[in-house]
Symmetry: C2
Subunit: 448 residues, 2 copies
């Protein structure tokens, strides 16, 4: 029997940050991570393993930071938790006694039961598991035609990378447009144009009916009867929270399948916390349950849990989930924060929007200048910004964080109209036509 003060189950984004935060806030406490993986992948970097970086060895989340802090790392799997005696058992037969327990068990790829053929050879998912990803790399070598099912960020990133290394890639998406959960139509269409101009084929507005083949995959049949030939199929149809262990422990699970967790990330059971993809999300704006899984959210929740383990802070609470997404296709970056126009309307807001397209350098004739488009989604009654979407050069990845902070601070259009923005020719759009501010002006007109 081993003893530890803080026991974190899972060692990816959420587990890593919880342990690091706990140890630096409570240096006198023993902090232990138990995780399955010998080597942890940087989850968000996984797609880039296949084209850009070429190897999972270049995508490792290093243990050095945790070691330096003095966090104990145990490679094992927790198989049961006894919440009364506060003990866990592992697959290797170890027992650990804890004072505080944190579920950071994450998520695994969703494979829908209704979909036939998912058991065929060369049907893959994208888990966060080095061994699987290495095998996938080897098996893809002999494949020419790849079909990706699902056009969220992960499906798109994976498809673009496979296209880069010469595969013939077709993406199938049931929604009318790719990236449909993050972007309104007019921006999604731009992403589609760039992707197809790079050689990726898109089939949108139609779902997959069945994966075809005998032992090995041969193709994909769509709901409209069309068949697409394929040597490999990559399923990118979302992720499911890993909550079985928590459930068995007696921890409450919400109706969307996540571990219930409050603003301090406490579960319903004393001394048990939950963070990251496995834990409950509530939308920052609507307060409703949400299913967003993002490393950024996971890490923020992890910091909150890590700081509140021994003694609560009323200023260090988690205020609700804001989806802040970004991705890059070649030199073009896409970002989204908060609600899209469509989502905001569906959730009951009366909204106005403002959009503006300019250049991300000034003058716009600089060699690395890129078109920059900003759309703001605004609550009509208050002028509060509910969401934003950006297309631009690579700086759009931080520009969407500007919008993230605008939303987190519940700023209004009036606040933006008087805001000061740093600008520099080589780095940003012009101060006289900064798309974020111009978009606010467009929205302001409609608010009049």
């Amino acid at each position: 029997m081993k003893k530890t003060d803080v026991l974190v189950i899972g060692g990816s984004a959420a587990g890593f940050v919880t342990a690091a935060t706990a140890k630096s806030n409570y240096p006198e406490k023993d902090v232990t991570i138990i995780r399955k993986e010998e080597i942890v992948m940087i989850p968000c970097g996984i797609p880039y393993v296949y084209g850009t970086s070429g190897s999972t060895d270049k995508n490792v989340l290093p243990d050095a930071g945790l070691n330096k802090l003095g966090v104990n790392i145990v490679i094992d799997e927790v198989v049961s938790v006894d919440k009364d005696s506060k003990k866990v058992k592992t697959k290797k037969g170890e027992e650990f006694e804890y004072d505080k327990l944190v579920f950071a068990t994450g998520s695994t790829p969703a494979v829908p039961k209704w979909l036939k053929g998912t058991e065929l050879e060369n049907v893959f998912t994208i888990p966060k598991n080095k061994v699987y990803l290495d095998e996938l790399m080897v098996k893809l070598k002999d494949c020419k035609k790849v079909v990706t099912v699902g056009a969220g960020f992960i499906g798109i990133e994976m498809s673009d990378e496979l296209n880069k290394i010469g595969k013939e890639v077709t993406v199938v998406e049931m929604l009318p447009h790719i990236l449909g959960l993050a972007f309104d139509e007019e921006l999604a269409v731009e992403a589609e144009e760039i992707l197809t101009s790079r050689g990726v084929k898109l089939v949108t507005g139609v779902g997959v009916k069945e994966i075809l083949g005998d032992a090995k995959v041969k193709g994909v049949m769509l709901n409209n009867g069309d068949i697409i030939d394929a040597d490999a199929v990559v399923l990118s149809m979302g992720y499911r929270p890993n909550v079985k262990l928590a459930e068995d422990t007696g921890v409450a699970i919400n109706e969307r399948g996540f571990i219930v967790a409050d603003q301090f990330r406490r579960t319903n059971i004393e001394d048990i916390f939950a963070v990251g993809d496995c834990s409950e999300k509530r939308d920052f704006i609507t307060g409703k349950l949400s299913g967003i899984m993002l490393a950024s959210t996971a890490c923020a929740e992890a910091r909150v849990a890590g700081m509140n383990l021994y003694g609560l802070s009323s200023v260090k609470t988690f205020p609700g989930t804001i989806g802040i997404y970004s991705t890059a296709i070649g030199e073009t970056a896409f970002g989204a924060a908060g609600l899209t126009e469509k989502q905001a309307e569906n959730k009951g807001f009366e909204v106005v929007t403002g959009s503006f397209t300019g250049m991300d350098r000034h003058p716009g004739n600089f060699e690395d200048a890129h078109k920059q488009m900003v759309k703001l989604i605004v609550s009509k009654d208050s002028g509060i910004i509910l969401g934003g979407e950006v297309i631009g050069g690579k700086t759009a990845g931080e520009l969407i964080n500007v919008i993230g902070f605008i939303i987190q601070n519940r700023m209004t259009i009036a606040d933006l109209l008087v805001a000061q923005i740093g600008t520099q020719p080589m780095l940003t759009a012009s101060p006289a036509a900064y798309p974020l501010i111009k978009a606010a002006e467009m929205a302001a007109k409609k608010l009049k």
Copy 2:
């Protein structure tokens, strides 16, 4: 005698944005700009004319936007204003009657009276004037050795550009470090290393005593007696607000030489406003008069004036100046917002700071990954963030705007510790080690 509702004197950043804002908020009003220049330069782009873009023709602020809105543009100079009859006279002998008048007369390079030799041939300043800048371009052709006096952003950008086209450039700066008004020492030192590694020579901590030469410049003598040979000298010793016309009109001027202007940018005289470099700045944090001149500030003031010309809005007021600077030296970008550590201390704050250095991509081994360093300056009593400094790749230009919004919202370290940040491998630092949040953690430790 011509009549206009809104008359804006000056057609650069502040004048442009005031006129555009006025016309779009009050489309029924006649809006007129009177400006000296036939062709307006993008002020911030001026240094890049000499190396990167090669011509002032590529650095033009176009009139198209104003024309489209229906703003009248008059190329002339206002020589007098009669505030009682509400009329102005121009150099070309025209008269205009106005209802609202806006001073956007900007600033011109400061040439200190005590400095001997400034009248010599090949001693230059950097005004925002195409004709002068074109002449400078021609004259520089025959110069090999250039001395820049003053190592603020403009002096540094100009020096780096001249170095790029093969000049031997030496920068002389009286302060111990370059960029000393925006950066604390540890960050300024990094900028110095990059600049010198590119071939620019730096002489810091010693002032210029005299510019040497007969008719033409031959060198520069420093306060320590050293002489630096020069075929040309570029003075970049700050800018002075153009307030003579306002003063003659009877408009109040503050003790730092700027036109007094309130939160709506109204001067002491009914129906006369002032915006941009010519107008009063008050520090957002301290409320004290400041001398900061930035296009970003100018444009924010201009929007405020433009919106409040006919009827005041209590939510569209100017809350005080935050210096948000950025610049690039090669692939490295530098940004600063709010107060430096030194400035905060000098102004009476007890501060703690937090710094963190990471990479701006994750994994950090991506080809275009760049070191990213963030420093936060925090008020000890409240945890409110007073300032921030960033070094990184080109995304640092928007990252400093994230910090700008943090300051504008008076966010605290606790707010940052729970904040959600969008992250993506190709676009940003890792969510588990995002330097802005890690820097906040470092500061939090010291606040305990």
